[in-house]
């Protein structure tokens, strides 16, 4: 429809140009009569001015239409303007529509209510041998030298004036799953930020992050051993977060309740598993943040989680399952000089995790941690290192340790190539030396930069 209108406009413009041309030809011929020459010149000038004005007017209308046309196919990429505001020409009381020069209204388009869509591909490769954990990125036994590990499709939009929704579907090699799908109520009274749906729990730092924003190809050893691995604590439930006002720091308290099914440990056993409806799992998180200078800041967190682990509690009358409790401390230090922020930065991260897992054979109290640093040394280059150590969840006397070096290259904001050397010393098997590769790419809407 817009194309037809554009064509009509073009035709009208042509007619104007043609008629203006016709008008001008006879007048130049007549201009030979000396006495009326000046009057004619004035007339011609007037005509020229009229023509220019009309050309200007049509030019503006044409470019507005072109912008409309141009915006239509790319509208999915226009992630920022959530539908409600920019679609309207201007808020009441303004006059942005009256001046022909003003193009403010040109961003309206038909697909404006579609959610912002993006697909992120995560391709992984592995070389070297690992006898203890043959799958380089999970607890499975398949060697998986090359894999399209995950394709994440994101759909995000504002629901209504009170909420927005985010869906992240993860297409793995075995099937499709909802990685996250939740509604966020952005304007509840009392400053409560509430989420309902399936989501990654706010236990520590790494558990809440999607694969594509991690600074490594894998997740730290302690996450795989004690916090449920790649999927981690990720479950259906309700999350409520509130800022605790104080004059010194950003302080946020978060409480989450989940169904109670999450994660996989290195033996393939679930981290949390329910056998009864009342066996819910809980996560509590307290986050403190403070700017040290305008270039540096520190982010600290305390986490607690409790859930049932699916191991029988031996109660024959009312069979239920035993409990696993997790405690965590996380710390992140970021440095990024504002004026050169796109060229250099440093992020140091550490998490300590303690696990108390009730088993039919008795309580296993294990712990683990990782410490990592990532330095950006050029606009597109990052180098990082990570130290890992963790007890095994079912046998806290077995301590695995490891370390990694990572190099990442970003061709653009929308793709990255990464190599990681990883060494793992297993308590119960031979050490593994592995070289891991990753190519990540994203198409569609421009998402938020990770922080």
């Amino acid at each position: 429809m817009v194309t037809r209108e554009l064509a009509r406009l073009c035709m009208r413009l042509c007619v104007w140009i043609a008629s203006a041309g016709l008008l001008m030809c006879p007048s130049t011929a007549l201009a030979q009569a000396p006495d009326s020459a000046q009057a004619l010149r004035a007339e011609i000038d007037q005509l020229k001015r009229d023509f220019e004005a009309i050309k200007q007017q049509y030019g503006d209308r044409l470019s507005a239409l072109e912008a409309k046309l141009g915006a239509a196919p790319g509208s999915a990429a226009a992630a920022a303007p959530p539908p409600s505001a920019p679609a309207l020409p201007a808020p009441a009381g303004t006059e942005s529509g009256t001046s022909p020069q003003v193009l403010g209204a040109s961003i309206a388009n038909a697909k404006v209510f579609n959610p912002d869509m993006a697909v992120i591909g995560d391709f992984l490769g592995a070389a070297g041998t690992n006898h203890v954990q043959p799958d380089p990125f999970g607890p499975g036994t398949h060697p998986n030298a090359l894999q399209l590990h995950e394709s994440e499709a994101a759909f995000q939009a504002v629901v209504d004036p009170y909420a927005r929704a985010d869906f992240f579907m993860s297409f793995g090699e075995e099937g499709v799953g909802v990685e996250e799908g939740f509604i966020t109520f952005t304007s509840l009274p009392g400053g409560l930020l509430t989420r309902v749906g399936k989501m990654r729990a706010a236990f520590g730092k790494v558990n809440s992050l999607h694969n594509h924003v991690l600074p490594w190809t894998d997740r730290p050893l302690v996450i795989g051993h004690l916090v449920g691995g790649e999927d981690g604590i990720n479950d259906a439930g309700v999350s409520v977060a509130r800022l605790i006002p104080n004059p010194w720091i950003f302080l946020e308290a978060m409480g989450q309740v989940f169904r109670g099914d999450s994660g996989v440990d290195p033996n393939g056993h679930p981290l949390f598993q329910t056998t009864r409806r009342r066996e819910l799992s809980y996560v509590g998180h307290l986050r403190g943040y403070r700017d040290i200078t305008e270039n540096a800041n520190i982010d600290l967190g305390l986490s607690y989680s409790r859930g049932h682990n699916g191991l029988s509690d031996g109660n024959l009358a009312d069979p239920g399952s035993l409990v696993t409790q997790l405690y965590g401390i996380d710390a992140t230090y970021r440095w990024k000089p504002l004026q050169r922020s796109i060229y250099t930065s440093f992020v140091g991260r550490a998490e300590w995790i303690w696990s108390r897992r009730d088993q039919p054979t008795g309580l296993q109290s294990g712990s683990g941690m990782y410490l990592s640093g990532d330095y950006q040394f050029a606009r597109r280059w990052f180098a990082g290192a990570r130290y890992d150590r963790s007890d095994r969840p079912d046998d806290a006397s077995a301590l695995d340790t490891g370390g990694s070096f990572v190099i990442t290259y970003w061709p653009s904001e929308f793709s990255q190539v990464r190599t990681q050397y990883r060494r793992t010393n297993y308590a119960l098997g031979p050490s593994a030396n592995e070289l891991l590769f990753q190519v990540q790419f994203s198409i569609g809407a421009h998402g938020a930069h990770p922080f």
């Binding site: 470019s63 072109e66 912008a67 141009g70 915006a71 196919p73 790319g74 509208s75 990429a77 992630a79 920022a80 303007p81 959530p82 409600s84 505001a85 920019p86 020409p89 201007a90 808020p91 009441a92 009381g93 303004t94 006059e95 942005s96 003003v102 193009l103 403010g104 040109s106 961003i107 504002v158 004036p161 927005r164 966020t184 952005t186 304007s187 509840l188 400053g191 409560l192 800022l243 605790i244 006002p245 943040y289 403070r290 700017d291 305008e294 800041n297 982010d299 970021r334 990024k336 504002l338 004026q339 922020s341 606009r379 597109r380 653009s412 198409i443 421009h446 938020a448 930069h449 922080f451």
Partner: protein, 310 residues
């Protein structure tokens, strides 16, 4: 329950329910950039408080969504954004976590300052990321034209009047005063730049199309091969050849870009390399919207004179 436990309980409950009372008489305005803050300050006068999230010397595309900004947004009555996807990487998550219904996109306290402005470089036809990090809604650096400055000021005055009808006359009067002063200054700037109309320049990023159009600069190329893509050797070589062919003697660089490539281009072509702030706060001396143009125009004219003298 012991008394201490009760007291602790009451204190905890009080902490959880206590909402900071930001209902002072002044409207609390938060802007995305310092340019908008400066214009808002002109319009709002002493009836508002203004603070910008981004600093003028940082790349406005790549501001970090720090939690400390969430605290600022939480207490804001008005949020003024540049729009046109400039803040797409950082403002949406901040708004989302602000817990402030007033500044959600589409709410009364949210103002997209671009809605009344004249926007250049709105892409037509099929756009893909092969063109780099293109902005489908047009070039977001539109404040670099005083005509747009007036339009932004009008949008802000109308928004403030809408939120504080009692102060409407004051805001409109401030707007009129700002517009008059800006008109006068613009006339002066145009007169200063008139002799140098058509001067050919190269810029790093596409930050100056509105400025160039208003003040008669001819931008013949960019150091970035495509928006948001860092310079490549081949593109730099092509640019140097083009600059030599067209005898371009000025390279303009935003304060947040690396100087290595621009300086190399300058050495090779004999062009002067200027760090030209596209924002208030881009350099120390530029403390408001008027000084932004004063500074940039003086810097340009000095450089052009120097290049003509040699």
């Amino acid at each position: 329950m012991t008394i201490t436990k009760r007291v602790a309980g009451v204190m905890a409950a009080a902490m959880l329910t206590w909402i900071p009372t930001s209902a002072q008489s002044k409207l609390n305005v938060i802007t995305a950039t310092e340019d908008l803050a400066s214009i808002a300050r002109e319009v709002g006068g002493d009836r508002i408080t203004v603070e910008s999230l981004a600093k003028g010397y940082q790349d406005p595309h790549f501001v970090e969504a720090k939690p400390s900004f969430i605290l600022k947004l939480q207490k804001a009555d008005v949020l003024i954004a540049v729009g046109r996807d400039l803040e797409i990487g950082w403002l949406p998550p901040l708004i989302q976590q602000s817990r402030n219904a007033k500044v959600q996109v589409g709410a009364k306290g949210y103002l997209d300052a671009s809605l009344g402005a004249s926007i250049l470089e709105i892409p037509s036809g099929n756009i893909t990321r092969a063109m780099g990090d293109v902005h489908p809604l047009g070039n977001p650096h539109y404040w670099m034209d005083p005509e747009n400055g007036k339009r932004i000021a009008k949008e802000i005055a109308d928004k403030l009047s809408e939120l504080r009808p009692a102060d409407s006359a004051f805001f409109q009067q401030q707007l009129a005063s700002f517009t008059t002063r800006l008109d006068a200054a613009e006339k002066r700037w145009l007169a200063q730049m008139a002799p140098y109309k058509g001067t050919k320049v190269v810029t790093y990023h596409r930050s100056f199309p509105n400025f160039a159009e208003r003040f008669g600069l001819d931008i013949i190329g960019y150091i970035e091969p495509r928006p948001g893509i860092p310079p490549t050797p081949q593109h730099t070589l092509d640019l140097i050849n083009e600059m030599k062919r067209q005898n371009v003697k000025l390279v303009l660089v935003e304060p947040y870009f690396d100087m290595k490539t621009p300086l190399a281009i300058g050495r090779d072509t004999g062009a002067q390399v200027l760090v030209l702030p596209p924002s208030v706060g881009g350099v120390k001396e530029v403390t408001d919207y008027f000084k932004l143009f004063d500074y940039d125009i003086n810097l340009l004219i000095d450089a052009i004179k120097k290049s003509r003298a040699t």
